[in-house]
Symmetry: C2
Subunit: 414 residues, 2 copies
Amino acid sequence: MEGVDLLVRGAGELLTLDHGRPGPVTGEAMRDLRIVPGGAVAVRDGRIRAVGPTAELEARFEARETVDAAGRVVMPGFVDPHTHLVFPATRQGEFEMRCLGKSYEEIARAGGGIRNSARRMREARREDLLDRARRLRRSALRHGTTTLEAKSGYGLATEPEILSLEVIAALDDRGDVVPTFLGAHEVPDEYRDDREGYVRLVVEEMIPAVAARGLARFCDVFCEEGVFSVEQSRRILRAGREAGLAPKLHADELHPLGGAELAAELGAASADHLVRISDAGIAALAATGVPAVLLPGTSFFLGMKDFAPGRRLIDEGVVVALATDLNPGSSMTENMQFILTAACLAYGMTPAEAITAATLNAARAVRLDDEVGSLVPGKRADLLVLDVDDHRLLAYHHGVNHVARVIHHGEIVE
Amino acid sequence: MEGVDLLVRGAGELLTLDHGRPGPVTGEAMRDLRIVPGGAVAVRDGRIRAVGPTAELEARFEARETVDAAGRVVMPGFVDPHTHLVFPATRQGEFEMRCLGKSYEEIARAGGGIRNSARRMREARREDLLDRARRLRRSALRHGTTTLEAKSGYGLATEPEILSLEVIAALDDRGDVVPTFLGAHEVPDEYRDDREGYVRLVVEEMIPAVAARGLARFCDVFCEEGVFSVEQSRRILRAGREAGLAPKLHADELHPLGGAELAAELGAASADHLVRISDAGIAALAATGVPAVLLPGTSFFLGMKDFAPGRRLIDEGVVVALATDLNPGSSMTENMQFILTAACLAYGMTPAEAITAATLNAARAVRLDDEVGSLVPGKRADLLVLDVDDHRLLAYHHGVNHVARVIHHGEIVE
């Protein structure tokens, strides 16, 4: 008998998402969760050692510790590939204004929104930023998110952008909080009359400073009418890429500017939002394999009646992923389970498709599909024991936390 | 010093909802939560003994047990005035069909929906029904719902309707699960060609049987195109009223049939759903004080792009309440916190209005406003300690359970 650290046994449905290769899947394969009934997972040194029927694994391995899944669903931890985890304060006042009829864009134009956060960020203390981000990260973990991406973007000046990325670095000990530089999240107050000047600051000062410190893996831009044009976005993302930061893009959220096409052109790690993606944009993502990260919680939270064409993106062969977009303005939730429900309802995805989008395909959107997103020997032992015996219940029975047990890097989270 | 059982002290915001009389509020008063900063609540024998500033109550009372709210929000427990708590099985298969484009009405016409549950109900065992309902009730409590209404309505025959109400009775020990008879939830398979025959069964056999056993406080009807007409609904609700069951009504959900007008005519305990309420219906509810119970989670779960006119109902002086509509077909959640968020976003209610609608006004919709819904001496000691310091965060930061402590009938729920 071979010794292992942990054996998770007796799953009713073990969702392996093992498609024979580590990467993402498209089209009909998204509905196939590669379920092993009565499955088990053996874990050693924080990695998955083996996956298979319980009887088989119990015959092969002697485990120091055992978790009995007792007929319930066991699945890979969620990967949340789009969050704005570090911010100086919640913005419930703006939420209240929105309830009373002001639009997100009106609030932004009046100096609220991201610029509101940026002003507060200038006075924020490192300890407070870290404390807030740590509590949200911990809550996300308790709701099943074992890996998440985190963006800067409320600094809008070199020093607070660096500070944000240092806070993100302080959260991560084992590669499970993926840092993205988003200096081009908005144009700060002092550059409203010199937008090009801010683009130059991002390109010439911020990107080199971030890259020199090794603080980010990705460079992101909010490409949107009234924020950064396609041309400005291209310049920023190219500069980032030359400095070693792979491109990501807030694309076609409120207006169809061609952000998806730009993401395809640059070979971006992902194109995110896509509520207004064009036909050409869909074709470009499908042709290049650039993942579409959809954010149904944001559409919900902004009260939008239009959604990204999630069903069509899947049917046309795009790598579709899901994320929370956790941020204090347009999506104040860290819970990927809610995102599954919202994706099913908004896009007409099935629960299985949503699960694939929130694990395997989401891992691709942060280029960690070799590491996480499926239950395959060699990947990180990030897995969830749910309190349901049918994976569809995870999306269907909403508003409650179905995660009974989180195993993160092979350790049981208490 | 007077002895009390429990003192909840040190609230940052104590939301008393004490408007000087126990009943519901309308219009601008819904935004006034009657907040006592730094407030405390003294509890004796399961009832509220006193409410006021912490220093004052600590000088007056000696408590056997103290809960320190530590600057956070303390508020009345939620009252959920519309649930279908007792059902034989979840219906995730129909959810999946809906994801793939089938409408709720198409599924119902094909024999799914309520009739699906009714067929399974005929084989259901009492222990299983009770076990499922008890788990959901317990989960609702952990999410802050201290009082809820529960309907029968999946039996659609005398015996299983009685069984459902007996299960509801078994859940309730102290008047916090309010039973409603909803035999007229759908026309069962065997009466599809004799709808009038089913109405007669409800009126002549079921209502007398339910009333004789003292198993329900309210009688409800699904008044909807293809289900029960206004005229049939009137007959059923009058028969219920004569037997001592106050009327309630599923009204104007999918089509504007005049259900709200009927509720006003009958002096119903509430008119529920109201997505398609007419101008005359709004005026009738405002004039009679019949509460409108809005169910934004149902609109969300059915993927509807139209919502009840919540903002307008408030502005026109209707007593507006909120509920989950917990049921396996059109709203699979027991969490009132999600309902607050959905109400803010769907109706343009403020967080404060949503809290009033989910406590004080919801209590009116089950005619328990003398007992629960606000923190007033003499009412049941049903209160929540949240993990937030601003009540707006309860609606704004969604997808997580903000209830840190539930006190139910004066006892701390473990």
